[in-house]
């Protein structure tokens, strides 16, 4: 028990360290990229020299990235996540306002995409009909070839919820992996033998196939969370959904350092949690199988 507590504490510390490193790396990337010091307002001919100077000095405030980040962590420890440069509002307020919508979008989108993936991949592996497999491949291929912006625009055109666009963006990525893993699992000699002996399909699936592919499927599920997060950017921007994806895009265009650092930390945390959970549950399946 004592050992388990230390193990959990170790994992938590590793997670925290990775998240903080992610924040620092993203701050560095934003700071070093050209355009950090540039402000669209500099092109306004009405502003006089003093105002332009003040504008530039305000942006130079975050020049030293290490001191910015240390300062940020000190304030974050007290719940102050800083102020957005682009929107002039506290980052904490912005995240709190927009997080529920993105969580809902991601949740529904992922459930839909995985339902479609499981249904098509299982039936492709189960039935092993070449025509069916080709059709499923063509459908997922077509969705892969459509730009995410087009899928988002189609969802606006057909008044479909943004979650459907997310599902259709993620589905073709997960389908191919899932289909291949399941086909390979079904082609194992002992599965073929079990089928030949007339064992019920449900029993074969749940007792012999699922445990084998589960670790990889879980890894895929963990990764699909990152894919879905990436998909929220075009979907929210085009469907006019005020979520974190839309905020991230605005922040990137404006080189809004405080907002970008916070969003990166949030995304890193979610990614790590999703993938770590997938790893832990996957390893349980491996031990079971062994």
């Amino acid at each position: 028990m004592h050992g388990l507590r230390w193990k959990i504490a170790g994992h938590a510390l590793a997670l925290l360290a990775t998240v903080l490193v992610g924040g620092l790396l993203s701050a560095t990337m934003v700071r070093l990229a050209p355009g950090f010091d540039a402000d669209e307002r500099e092109l306004d001919p009405h502003l006089n020299a003093q105002s332009l100077q003040a504008l530039r000095e305000a942006r130079h405030h975050d020049d030293n990235i290490i001191s910015f980040y240390v300062d940020y962590m000190k304030r974050a420890a007290h719940g102050d996540l800083g102020n957005s440069l682009a929107l002039g509002q506290p980052v904490r307020t912005l995240l709190r306002q927009r997080l529920p919508l993105t969580v809902q979008l991601l949740g529904i989108g992922l459930v839909l995409s995985w339902s479609l993936t499981s249904m098509l991949a299982l039936s492709a592996a189960w039935l092993r009909l070449p025509t069916y497999d080709t059709m499923a491949t063509a459908i997922s291929g077509m969705l892969l070839c459509l730009p995410a912006a087009v899928l988002a625009l189609l969802s606006v055109l057909w008044n479909a919820p943004g979650a459907i666009a997310i599902a259709l963006i993620v589905f073709p990525h997960t389908y191919r992996y899932a289909r291949n893993l399941l086909v390979k699992a079904y082609s194992r000699p002992h599965i073929l033998a079990a089928r030949a002996k007339g064992l019920r399909e449900a029993r074969i699936l749940f007792w012999h196939v699922v445990p084998v592919v589960m670790p990889q499927m879980l890894a895929l599920a963990g990764v699909s969370v990152s894919m879905a997060i990436g998909a929220t950017i075009p979907v929210e921007a085009l469907c006019g959904l005020p979520g974190i994806g839309q905020l991230a895009w605005q922040a990137a265009l404006a080189r809004d350092l405080p907002l970008l650092v916070n969003i990166t930390i949030l995304v890193t945390l979610v990614t790590l949690l999703a993938n770590s959970s997938a790893d832990v549950i996957g390893s349980m399946f491996r031990r079971q199988e062994a």
């Binding site: 355009g35 020299a49 006019g240």
Partner: protein, 537 residues
Amino acid sequence: MSFKKLVALTIILVGALLAQATAQGSELRFCLHNEPKTFNPLQVDDDAAASIRYLTGGVLVRLNRQTQQLEPELAESWKVSKDGREISFHLRGGIAFSDGTPFTAEDVAYTIRQLMDPALHSPSGDAFRSDNGNIESEVISSTQISIRFPAEVAGLDRLFDQVAILSRYSAKKEMAVLGPFMVADYKPGASVLLKRNPNYWKKDEQGRKLPYLDSILLQIQPNRDVEMLQFKRGELDLINTLDSEYFDKLAATWPQVVHDAGPSLDSEQLWFNEVAKGPIPQYKKDWFRSANFRRAISEAINREDLSRIVYHGHAQPAMGPFSPANKFWFDAKLKPTIYSPDGALKSLASDGFRFENGTLKDKSGNAVVFSIITNAGNKARERMAVLIQDDLLKIGIQVNVVTLDFPSLIERMTQSFDYEAIILGLTNVDLDPDGEMNVWLSSAENHQWNPQQKTPETVWEAEIDRLMRLQASSSDPMKRKEAFDRVQEIVVEEQPFIFLINKNALSAVSTRVHGAVPVILSPQTFWNAERLTVSGN
């Protein structure tokens, strides 16, 4: 009266009442293309915030966007002193802010104090700052105020069109407004809802209170494709600035909704980097600093094709710094540049350039190759760059087109000066050239081709400096025009900006909207929002 007649009369009355209700109430819906950065009217520096300020802010004088004449608004009358340093307003009495707080001259004095606060760095405030020194407001009575500036301010009264009056005493601060609408709800990233200001002072000619609309819903949508979809589906009532490719497609099925108000004040231009410290090879700097080279490039660009192909005919070739739509200030003596690749080659030959085997080379044998950068996402500019690339290839010049994200572009343009040529545009241009002092003065920041010169590096830039200061210090409109006409002629001669086209003001207004008269000055379609009505939402 028989029962049948009674029923008929009732139906007629109810119908008339319903028609009145639907014609005189209801909600107008359109898009803002970016998130408003502020609701403080003194700090407005983006289009979305400017639109909200226009609809909610009460101003002392209003530039009528249709007639382009100044009209009394919160001020019944005003007077500018002969020396152009003082302006006195006689205000309307009995007016209140949206929360009921009375409006007096003290509010005007308070607004001016806030506006001129150096720490605020307000663009509308900077427009008043013709010299260092304090601006003094004298409240003569509750309806009379006089404001004195340290030096003459050209076009002083027009500048007050951009100054929305704040309440000195209201607890709601900048949310207490004097305009026809007030901010009722703001959903970040989604929409801004404006509702009728119940205390709005204005009435129509029949004595009915304005505005007619109950509310205006402003949806935040940067994507033009989505905006178009929503308009076609009837979810939006107007598109304030319509892209030319959408204009023709909408016109094909729905001609009554599209409006082309003619050439706007906006322009698109190309310029070369003439900054001495720019990190580009010296031989290229020599090309770009030659007026002959710039004139040749200008001659080699087919502006008719730019208008026809990129803007589908909804633009005119530009002749100079100001559009002909600016009737008073445009120099009518200017002539359009004739497209002539042969003429261009002749001009280049006089600078020692040679056209050999399809390649243009300078006198040192360097092939003429340069890049044009522009901002990604602006389809019109990207297409113009490719057409210009093709035009210049005909005279042996190889152009590389690079589209960059806006911050990177600005950084190259204003800080590193690491670019060769750039295509950008001027939008929301002021009618009065004084608004562009910071573009034409050689010492200024926005003198884009070679900013912040300690002393003018060329004779013609020194002359432009002199003329711009002359027009800024004169109160005689004809003397000012004479000076600025000369500025325009010098610019056309020297081509520091190669002006390409003046876009037309295009918009779309649903047939549900009544009273809209699209014009060229911003805001094109809702400049008279207080008199618009919408039926059958």
